[in-house]
Amino acid sequence: MPGLVIAYEIMRWEERAIVNAAREAGLKVTSLHLHAVFLPIGGFAKPLPTDPLSSIVVQRAVSHVSALNSTLVMESMGFKVINSSEALAKSFNKVWTLVSLAKAGLNTPRTAVALGEEPCYKLAQLIGYPLVVKPIDGSWGRLLALVRDEEELRTILEHRAYMANPSMKVHMVQEYVKKPGRDIRVFTIGDEVVAAIYRVSSHWITNTARGGRAEPAHVDPELEDLALRAAKALGVEFAGIDVFEDRDRGYLVNEVNAIPEFKNTVAVTGCKVHVKLVDYAKSVLKK
Protein backbone atom coordinates (compact mmCIF):
# COMPACT_ATOMS: atom_id res chain seq x y z
CA MET A 1 0.00 0.00 0.00
CA PRO A 2 1.53 3.35 -1.00
CA GLY A 3 2.27 5.59 1.91
CA LEU A 4 2.74 9.21 2.84
CA VAL A 5 4.96 10.20 5.73
CA ILE A 6 4.31 13.61 7.19
CA ALA A 7 7.38 14.86 9.05
CA TYR A 8 6.42 17.53 11.57
CA GLU A 9 7.18 19.16 14.88
CA ILE A 10 3.85 20.76 15.63
CA MET A 11 0.66 19.76 13.87
CA ARG A 12 -1.14 22.91 12.78
CA TRP A 13 -4.21 23.23 10.57
CA GLU A 14 -2.09 22.59 7.47
CA GLU A 15 -0.46 19.38 8.71
CA ARG A 16 -3.78 17.99 9.92
CA ALA A 17 -5.36 18.82 6.55
CA ILE A 18 -2.58 16.95 4.73
CA VAL A 19 -3.01 13.91 7.01
CA ASN A 20 -6.77 13.84 6.43
CA ALA A 21 -6.42 14.36 2.67
CA ALA A 22 -3.87 11.55 2.43
CA ARG A 23 -6.14 9.18 4.32
CA GLU A 24 -9.05 10.08 2.07
CA ALA A 25 -6.81 9.45 -0.94
CA GLY A 26 -6.23 5.90 0.28
CA LEU A 27 -2.62 6.38 1.33
CA LYS A 28 -1.17 4.75 4.40
CA VAL A 29 -0.25 7.74 6.56
CA THR A 30 2.71 7.73 8.92
CA SER A 31 2.84 10.75 11.22
CA LEU A 32 6.48 11.30 12.02
CA HIS A 33 6.80 13.53 15.07
CA LEU A 34 10.40 14.58 14.60
CA HIS A 35 10.95 15.21 18.32
CA ALA A 36 10.08 11.61 19.15
CA VAL A 37 12.37 9.65 16.81
CA PHE A 38 15.99 9.24 15.81
CA LEU A 39 16.93 9.15 12.15
CA PRO A 40 19.90 6.93 11.23
CA ILE A 41 22.15 8.33 8.52
CA GLY A 42 22.19 5.87 5.65
CA GLY A 43 19.42 3.85 7.25
CA PHE A 44 21.49 1.35 9.30
CA ALA A 45 18.45 0.96 11.51
CA LYS A 46 14.80 1.15 10.54
CA PRO A 47 13.04 3.84 12.53
CA LEU A 48 10.07 4.25 10.22
CA PRO A 49 7.42 1.58 9.73
CA THR A 50 7.34 2.24 6.02
CA ASP A 51 9.35 1.48 2.91
CA PRO A 52 11.22 4.24 1.04
CA LEU A 53 10.25 2.63 -2.26
CA SER A 54 6.52 2.83 -1.63
CA SER A 55 6.34 5.98 0.49
CA ILE A 56 6.93 9.66 0.07
CA VAL A 57 7.73 12.18 2.77
CA VAL A 58 6.12 15.59 3.04
CA GLN A 59 8.39 17.78 5.15
CA ARG A 60 6.44 20.17 7.42
CA ALA A 61 8.85 20.95 10.27
CA VAL A 62 8.35 24.49 11.50
CA SER A 63 12.02 24.98 12.37
CA HIS A 64 14.22 25.52 9.34
CA VAL A 65 17.16 23.78 11.02
CA SER A 66 15.01 20.76 11.89
CA ALA A 67 13.50 20.63 8.42
CA LEU A 68 16.79 20.73 6.58
CA ASN A 69 18.67 18.26 8.75
CA SER A 70 15.88 15.71 9.05
CA THR A 71 15.32 15.90 5.30
CA LEU A 72 19.01 15.26 4.63
CA VAL A 73 18.93 12.12 6.78
CA MET A 74 15.65 10.83 5.37
CA GLU A 75 17.05 11.27 1.86
CA SER A 76 20.10 9.24 2.93
CA MET A 77 17.67 6.50 3.97
CA GLY A 78 16.28 6.44 0.44
CA PHE A 79 13.15 8.51 0.94
CA LYS A 80 11.92 11.00 -1.60
CA VAL A 81 11.08 14.15 0.34
CA ILE A 82 8.94 17.11 -0.71
CA ASN A 83 10.80 19.44 -0.72
CA SER A 84 14.33 18.14 -1.22
CA SER A 85 17.13 19.17 1.12
CA GLU A 86 18.74 21.23 -1.65
CA ALA A 87 15.51 23.10 -2.33
CA LEU A 88 14.98 23.72 1.39
CA ALA A 89 18.52 25.03 1.85
CA LYS A 90 18.15 27.41 -1.06
CA SER A 91 14.79 28.73 0.04
CA PHE A 92 15.70 29.10 3.73
CA ASN A 93 18.65 31.33 2.86
CA LYS A 94 17.37 34.56 1.31
CA VAL A 95 20.72 35.28 -0.33
CA TRP A 96 20.81 31.86 -1.94
CA THR A 97 17.21 32.34 -3.04
CA LEU A 98 17.88 35.65 -4.77
CA VAL A 99 21.12 34.38 -6.31
CA SER A 100 19.24 31.39 -7.75
CA LEU A 101 16.44 33.61 -9.06
CA ALA A 102 18.91 36.06 -10.60
CA LYS A 103 20.83 33.23 -12.27
CA ALA A 104 17.55 32.11 -13.81
CA GLY A 105 17.02 35.60 -15.22
CA LEU A 106 14.08 36.47 -12.99
CA ASN A 107 13.47 40.04 -11.87
CA THR A 108 14.04 40.57 -8.15
CA PRO A 109 14.21 43.66 -5.93
CA ARG A 110 17.63 45.33 -6.07
CA THR A 111 19.53 43.68 -3.24
CA ALA A 112 23.13 43.51 -2.03
CA VAL A 113 25.03 41.99 0.83
CA ALA A 114 27.55 43.81 2.99
CA LEU A 115 29.61 42.23 5.75
CA GLY A 116 30.88 45.44 7.29
CA GLU A 117 29.21 48.63 8.47
CA GLU A 118 31.06 51.11 6.25
CA PRO A 119 30.18 49.22 3.04
CA CYS A 120 26.58 49.29 4.29
CA TYR A 121 26.54 53.10 4.28
CA LYS A 122 28.03 53.19 0.77
CA LEU A 123 25.51 50.61 -0.38
CA ALA A 124 22.68 52.64 1.13
CA GLN A 125 23.76 55.67 -0.89
CA LEU A 126 23.75 53.55 -4.02
CA ILE A 127 20.32 52.00 -3.39
CA GLY A 128 18.83 55.13 -1.86
CA TYR A 129 16.56 55.64 1.15
CA PRO A 130 14.16 54.30 2.21
CA LEU A 131 15.57 50.80 2.10
CA VAL A 132 15.06 47.51 3.89
CA VAL A 133 17.61 45.62 5.98
CA LYS A 134 16.70 41.96 6.14
CA PRO A 135 17.97 38.91 7.96
CA ILE A 136 19.35 36.28 5.57
CA ASP A 137 17.09 33.70 7.14
CA GLY A 138 13.89 33.81 9.11
CA SER A 139 10.29 34.19 8.19
CA TRP A 140 6.95 35.84 8.89
CA GLY A 141 8.46 39.29 8.50
CA ARG A 142 10.62 38.94 11.59
CA LEU A 143 13.49 41.41 12.05
CA LEU A 144 12.81 43.26 8.83
CA ALA A 145 13.78 46.90 9.23
CA LEU A 146 12.58 49.83 7.16
CA VAL A 147 15.39 52.36 7.13
CA ARG A 148 14.58 55.93 6.12
CA ASP A 149 17.92 57.66 6.61
CA GLU A 150 21.51 57.16 7.67
CA GLU A 151 20.73 57.69 11.33
CA GLU A 152 18.23 54.84 11.30
CA LEU A 153 20.71 52.66 9.44
CA ARG A 154 23.31 53.40 12.12
CA THR A 155 20.82 52.35 14.81
CA ILE A 156 19.93 49.10 13.05
CA LEU A 157 23.58 48.19 12.51
CA GLU A 158 24.38 48.96 16.13
CA HIS A 159 21.61 46.65 17.30
CA ARG A 160 22.81 43.95 14.92
CA ALA A 161 26.35 44.26 16.25
CA TYR A 162 25.11 43.09 19.66
CA MET A 163 23.10 40.15 18.33
CA ALA A 164 24.72 36.79 19.00
CA ASN A 165 23.51 35.11 15.82
CA PRO A 166 26.40 35.37 13.29
CA SER A 167 23.95 35.52 10.39
CA MET A 168 22.94 38.95 11.69
CA LYS A 169 26.43 40.17 10.70
CA VAL A 170 25.52 39.57 7.06
CA HIS A 171 23.65 42.72 6.16
CA MET A 172 21.20 42.07 3.37
CA VAL A 173 20.16 45.46 2.05
CA GLN A 174 17.25 45.73 -0.34
CA GLU A 175 15.52 48.57 -2.10
CA TYR A 176 12.15 49.49 -0.65
CA VAL A 177 9.65 48.53 -3.32
CA LYS A 178 6.61 50.78 -3.27
CA LYS A 179 3.93 48.11 -3.30
CA PRO A 180 0.30 48.94 -4.05
CA GLY A 181 -0.76 48.06 -0.50
CA ARG A 182 -0.33 44.38 -1.15
CA ASP A 183 1.95 41.65 -2.40
CA ILE A 184 1.14 38.33 -4.02
CA ARG A 185 1.68 34.82 -2.67
CA VAL A 186 1.57 32.26 -5.47
CA PHE A 187 1.35 28.56 -4.64
CA THR A 188 3.01 26.10 -6.97
CA ILE A 189 2.81 22.33 -6.85
CA GLY A 190 4.91 20.46 -9.41
CA ASP A 191 4.53 22.27 -12.71
CA GLU A 192 1.26 23.95 -11.78
CA VAL A 193 0.15 27.17 -10.14
CA VAL A 194 -2.70 26.04 -7.89
CA ALA A 195 -3.72 29.22 -6.09
CA ALA A 196 -2.69 32.76 -5.33
CA ILE A 197 -3.63 35.38 -2.80
CA TYR A 198 -3.06 39.06 -2.37
CA ARG A 199 -1.74 39.90 1.07
CA VAL A 200 -3.30 43.27 1.69
CA SER A 201 -2.07 45.62 4.38
CA SER A 202 -1.61 49.31 5.03
CA HIS A 203 1.66 48.34 6.72
CA TRP A 204 4.73 47.87 4.54
CA ILE A 205 5.09 44.30 5.87
CA THR A 206 2.23 42.38 4.28
CA ASN A 207 2.71 38.89 5.75
CA THR A 208 -0.55 37.41 6.97
CA ALA A 209 1.36 36.41 10.12
CA ARG A 210 1.76 40.16 10.68
CA GLY A 211 -1.85 41.06 10.04
CA GLY A 212 -1.99 41.13 6.25
CA ARG A 213 -5.45 40.24 4.93
CA ALA A 214 -5.71 37.42 2.39
CA GLU A 215 -7.79 37.96 -0.74
CA PRO A 216 -8.03 35.80 -3.86
CA ALA A 217 -5.55 36.94 -6.50
CA HIS A 218 -5.79 36.85 -10.25
CA VAL A 219 -2.98 34.92 -11.90
CA ASP A 220 -2.22 36.19 -15.38
CA PRO A 221 0.02 34.23 -17.77
CA GLU A 222 3.06 36.37 -16.91
CA LEU A 223 2.66 35.76 -13.18
CA GLU A 224 2.09 32.06 -13.75
CA ASP A 225 5.21 31.78 -15.88
CA LEU A 226 7.25 33.76 -13.36
CA ALA A 227 6.16 31.61 -10.42
CA LEU A 228 6.89 28.36 -12.22
CA ARG A 229 10.31 29.61 -13.30
CA ALA A 230 11.05 30.67 -9.72
CA ALA A 231 10.02 27.24 -8.43
CA LYS A 232 12.21 25.57 -11.03
CA ALA A 233 15.17 27.82 -10.19
CA LEU A 234 15.10 26.62 -6.58
CA GLY A 235 13.98 23.06 -7.28
CA VAL A 236 10.91 23.34 -5.05
CA GLU A 237 8.01 21.01 -5.80
CA PHE A 238 5.68 22.75 -3.36
CA ALA A 239 6.15 26.42 -2.67
CA GLY A 240 4.64 29.74 -1.76
CA ILE A 241 6.30 32.36 -3.91
CA ASP A 242 6.18 35.99 -2.81
CA VAL A 243 5.93 38.51 -5.61
CA PHE A 244 5.93 42.31 -5.54
CA GLU A 245 4.21 44.48 -8.12
CA ASP A 246 6.43 47.37 -9.16
CA ARG A 247 4.90 50.21 -11.15
CA ASP A 248 7.81 50.43 -13.58
CA ARG A 249 9.34 46.95 -13.63
CA GLY A 250 6.27 44.76 -13.20
CA TYR A 251 6.53 41.60 -11.16
CA LEU A 252 9.53 41.11 -8.88
CA VAL A 253 10.10 37.79 -7.12
CA ASN A 254 11.11 38.43 -3.53
CA GLU A 255 11.06 35.15 -1.63
CA VAL A 256 10.34 31.47 -2.07
CA ASN A 257 8.83 29.59 0.88
CA ALA A 258 9.42 25.83 0.79
CA ILE A 259 7.15 24.88 3.71
CA PRO A 260 4.36 27.36 3.17
CA GLU A 261 1.32 27.82 5.34
CA PHE A 262 -1.92 27.80 3.38
CA LYS A 263 -4.85 27.91 5.81
CA ASN A 264 -5.79 31.45 4.79
CA THR A 265 -5.39 30.62 1.11
CA VAL A 266 -7.80 27.69 1.36
CA ALA A 267 -10.26 29.88 3.24
CA VAL A 268 -10.36 32.71 0.71
CA THR A 269 -9.77 30.89 -2.59
CA GLY A 270 -11.56 27.62 -1.91
CA CYS A 271 -8.61 25.82 -3.46
CA LYS A 272 -7.81 22.75 -1.37
CA VAL A 273 -4.05 23.12 -1.50
CA HIS A 274 -3.57 20.10 0.79
CA VAL A 275 -5.60 17.86 -1.53
CA LYS A 276 -3.61 19.02 -4.53
CA LEU A 277 -0.37 18.39 -2.64
CA VAL A 278 -1.46 14.85 -1.77
CA ASP A 279 -2.55 14.24 -5.39
CA TYR A 280 0.87 15.41 -6.54
CA ALA A 281 2.63 13.17 -3.98
CA LYS A 282 0.60 10.21 -5.25
CA SER A 283 1.56 10.98 -8.83
CA VAL A 284 5.24 11.11 -7.86
CA LEU A 285 4.90 7.78 -6.03
CA LYS A 286 3.46 6.16 -9.16
CA LYS A 287 6.60 7.11 -11.07
Binding site: M11, V62, G138, N257, A258, P260
Partner: protein, 42 residues
Protein backbone atom coordinates in the same frame (compact mmCIF):
# COMPACT_ATOMS: atom_id res chain seq x y z
CA UNK B 1 -9.47 17.61 21.33
CA UNK B 2 -9.90 15.33 18.27
CA UNK B 3 -10.18 11.60 19.05
CA UNK B 4 -7.22 10.91 16.80
CA UNK B 5 -5.06 13.77 18.13
CA UNK B 6 -1.38 13.30 17.43
CA UNK B 7 1.65 14.30 19.49
CA UNK B 8 2.50 17.89 18.71
CA UNK B 9 -1.01 18.69 17.52
CA UNK B 10 -2.11 22.23 18.25
CA UNK B 11 -5.60 22.56 19.69
CA UNK B 12 -7.46 25.68 20.68
CA UNK B 13 -9.16 25.96 24.04
CA UNK B 14 -12.56 27.66 24.24
CA UNK B 15 -10.86 30.70 25.75
CA UNK B 16 -8.61 31.02 22.71
CA UNK B 17 -5.40 29.69 24.26
CA UNK B 18 -3.42 27.39 21.96
CA UNK B 19 -2.34 24.11 23.52
CA UNK B 20 -0.05 21.36 22.27
CA UNK B 21 -0.80 17.68 22.67
CA UNK B 22 2.00 15.81 24.42
CA UNK B 23 2.20 12.07 24.90
CA UNK B 24 4.38 10.88 27.77
CA UNK B 25 4.62 7.14 28.45
CA UNK B 26 1.28 6.61 26.77
CA UNK B 27 -0.49 9.35 28.70
CA UNK B 28 -1.95 12.22 26.71
CA UNK B 29 -1.68 15.70 28.16
CA UNK B 30 -1.76 19.30 27.03
CA UNK B 31 0.80 22.05 27.47
CA UNK B 32 0.79 25.68 26.35
CA UNK B 33 1.86 25.81 22.72
CA UNK B 34 5.18 27.47 22.00
CA UNK B 35 4.61 30.77 20.23
CA UNK B 36 7.63 31.20 18.03
CA UNK B 37 11.30 30.28 17.93
CA UNK B 38 14.18 31.99 16.19
CA UNK B 39 14.32 29.79 13.11
CA UNK B 40 10.65 29.01 12.78
CA UNK B 41 9.00 29.92 9.54
CA UNK B 42 7.84 28.92 6.14
Amino acid sequence: MPDDALPGEIVEHDCGVLLEVVVDEGKVALKPAEGISEDWGE
